[in-house]
């Protein structure tokens, strides 16, 4: 697996692409990796982040004529240690929160995942996926109120037979792009202002890279502190 450094999603890019980060959350064995794998199919080429035990998958697409480069982040089993590393949430633009329709406990743990997500990312769009509907299709006749209660779009999906997987991911990408162009998290607004400020004032400054890093680190701290 290729080892890469953590990308900076706030850094303006000269490729004309919008860079977004979509994270997957949910209990062990609900099928997070299998969902990403089903969406990407042949393009499923994991990259391991060098610093943290996390896996990400890059995907290029186009939304309404706009080129988009998406990184899907997968937990790489880190959910077993109860808390995800803050870097997992850092700069995320959308979240897919999944449970397993064959195992009630994974549904009962959804509030814990949403709570942790909201500590780091109070406003990003979060989509709810009810996976493994192929095991017992009658589950789709039943109501699950968690998503409605928290105002999240809800999808019955199967990573195995493919039902609604592409729709779920395309909607997640759209939501991420929309969020990035019009962020409502206060930290994102501040980040954007800082970025604009820097563009105006720091035009002839060299070595912008290190500054970006400092900003990202500061944002991490503030993200946590503000919640």
């Amino acid at each position: 697996m290729a080892q890469v450094a953590q990308p900076d999603y706030d850094k303006p890019d000269d490729s004309g692409e919008v860079r977004v980060k979509v994270i997957c959350l949910g209990d062990s064995a609900v099928g997070k990796s299998k969902l990403v794998e089903r969406f990407l199919m042949d393009g499923y080429k994991p990259q391991q982040l060098s610093t943290f035990a996390l896996t990400l998958f890059n995907h290029k697409t186009e939304i309404d004529g706009q080129k988009v480069s998406v990184d899907f982040w997968d937990t790489a089993g880190q959910e077993r240690f109860n808390n995800m590393h803050p870097s997992y949430y850092h700069q995320a633009h959308a979240c897919i929160l999944a449970f397993d329709t064959t195992r009630k406990i994974t549904y009962k743990n959804m509030p814990n995942w949403l709570k942790e997500l909201r500590e780091y990312r109070p406003e990003i769009p979060c989509l709810c996926a009810a996976n493994k509907i192929d095991v017992d299709p009658s589950v789709t006749k039943k109501s699950f109120n968690f998503a409605k209660k928290h105002n999240m779009p809800f999808y019955f999906v199967s990573a195995s037979d493919g039902t609604n997987v592409v729709k779920l991911f395309r909607d997640a990408i759209k939501a991420a792009v929309k969020y990035k162009s019009n962020p409502t998290d206060i930290m994102d607004e501040i980040m954007q202002e800082l970025e604009n400020f820097e563009l105006e004032t720091g035009k002839d400054k060299a070595g912008g890279d290190t500054e970006d890093k400092d900003q990202a680190a500061a944002a991490d701290e503030n993200d946590k502190a503000s919640s």
Partner: protein, 169 residues
């Protein structure tokens, strides 16, 4: 996987010295056969995954070991390991039955990694059974089904009630 003329009928283990034993039908020769595959250097600390990998890459055994499912493979090797660690056969079988059972109320975030691997393998078999992939006659990349048009979900999942249900935060 290449199509095999061999059909697995039974699989088991030998403890001393450790070996996998299978009984299979060779349809080409129309004969019932048994094959014993010694596990050299296998001990109570051996890594099950790498042992499986070695056997699958072994040219003398690979066409036979591919008859075993990953779940069976893990189970057999785990029983031998338990024996080498001094566990009784009864206790080992109970432990392995437990690892091979998926329970709707068991929190898999909290189990040890061996148990998680085993339960995932059980789920994988369902996944593979229902899997549609490129090459299948009815495969489509984008499968959209609108379940919302069912007028008023009459049935509750029953998963939203109870003292452990979603608290506000």
């Amino acid at each position: 996987m290449t199509t095999s003329t061999l059909q697995l009928l039974k699989c088991g283990v030998r403890f001393d010295p450790p070996a996998l034993v299978i009984t299979y039908k060779d349809w080409k020769a129309n004969k019932l056969r048994r094959r014993t595959m010694p596990l050299r250097n296998f001990n109570k600390n051996s890594n099950i995954e790498s042992t499986i990998k070695d056997l699958k890459e072994n040219p003398r055994h690979n066409r036979f070991v591919q008859l075993l499912s990953m779940a069976q493979f893990h189970r057999l090797l785990s029983i031998i390991k338990d024996k080498l660690s001094g566990l009784s056969l009864e206790a080992s079988i109970a432990r392995n039955n437990d690892m091979d059972t998926v329970r709707a109320d068991e929190d898999l975030n909290k189990v040890d990694s061996e148990t998680l691997v085993r339960k995932k393998l059980q789920m994988d078999s369902t996944f593979e059974k229902n899997k549609k992939q490129p090459g299948d006659p009815d495969f489509q990349y984008n499968v959209e089904v609108d379940f919302e048009d069912v007028v008023g979900k009459v049935e509750s999942s029953g998963w939203d009630s109870g003292e452990d249900s979603d608290p506000d935060f």
